[in-house]
């Protein structure tokens, strides 16, 4: 990280770290995924619960599978996007907390890569399940 020397304005030697030009894209994606979550989660909850309130039968795996058969492409797309939005929004939120709590560059980098791997892992598992359902 670049250190900018600003000693001339203070009573003793001071440097202020100037971070690389980063963060803009993540911030935009955090906002976009929040809107995505609102939409995709609403669709998901509707088809999982509200859409089946008229059925007296208890919620079963067969009922949960039904939307994939009725709307094969659209519903799978919704669930896939929901998975991506939830993973990104949640894990980037954790990254934000870590960046708030530590200024240690190595720890930050390690956390970012760990969260990326975690996200990819969960995404892989989620899409594997999704592919089995469609």
């Amino acid at each position: 990280m670049v250190q900018r020397n600003v000693s001339s304005v203070t009573s003793r030697a001071q440097t202020v770290p100037v971070a690389p030009r980063a963060g803009t894209l993540l911030w935009i994606l955090q906002r976009l995924t929040s809107y995505g979550l609102l939409l995709f989660l609403a669709v998901h909850l509707y088809f999982t619960y509200v859409g089946h309130l008229d059925t007296a039968a208890p919620l079963t795996f067969e009922i949960l599978k039904r939307p994939y058969q009725v709307y094969p492409f659209i519903y799978a797309l919704n669930e896939g996007l929901l998975l991506v939005c939830a993973l990104f929004h949640g894990l980037n939120g954790v990254r934000n907390i870590i960046y708030d709590w530590t200024t240690h560059a190595g720890l930050r980098r390690l956390a970012s890569y760990a969260l990326l791997l975690l996200g990819l892992g969960f995404a892989g598992y989620g899409f594997y399940i999704l592919a089995a359902l469609v």
Binding site: R4, V6, S8, V9, T10, S11, R12, Q14, T15, V16, P17, V18, A19, P20, R21, A22, G23, T24, L25, L26, W27, I28, N96, Y99, D100, W101, T102, T103
Partner: protein, 250 residues
Amino acid sequence: MNVKIRVPRYEANGAITPVFQTYTVAITPTTTVLDALNQIKGHQDGTLAFRRSCRSAMCGSCGVMVNGRNRLACNTRVAELNSSEVSVNPLPGFPVIRDLVVDWDPFFAKDAVMLPYLISDQTRPDDGTERLQSPSDARQIDSPSSCIQCGCCSSACPVQWTNSEYYGPAALTRSYRFVEDSRDTAVKARLDIVGTETGVWRCHTIFNCTSDCPKGILNTENIQALKRKIMLSRLGLGRIEVRARVPESA
């Protein structure tokens, strides 16, 4: 009427845990917290350390935390607090030098990073007078220009408490003041400085800085305005206006 003033006392040179001391001060309806501190220092305990200068909310020296909120001691009346015991603490998040005196060096170092001066590639008027602004352009920067650098906002920011690298609302509002200045032409450079992980993207819109600003500056909103400008310019959706507009009357 008597009021108890509770102040943390630190040994000079680095004791971490303060010892709290309570003083009883006679107040009138117009007694300010600074008056009370002056009474203590003048008549009860000359070793109490605190900063003050103008006594008229202009210099920003006497920012302290009073009953859990950051305020200027000189324009906070004790009677307004409706409390028989008033707790006065140094600004949180700043390194304490002694008692109510905090270290301002990191704060002003961040301010200096913001290039807190007018940058213009326009030549000055031939007659040597100042660069003119239209009244509406001047109104744009009225609010952020009224910042007195008291540190109440940056000290109230929870992100600043845990992340010493974050520039903080005072420095970001300073940047906003010049970004919005119609005479300034270094907008892109300024946005590059604040559009970083230690800049605007660390702000989580907690609004403590806005609620604790003794000058009523909308710090959080200013930071959001900077975010919008940076976002639009980096997405290529907005153009950074290189201004230095000449007012109609000039």
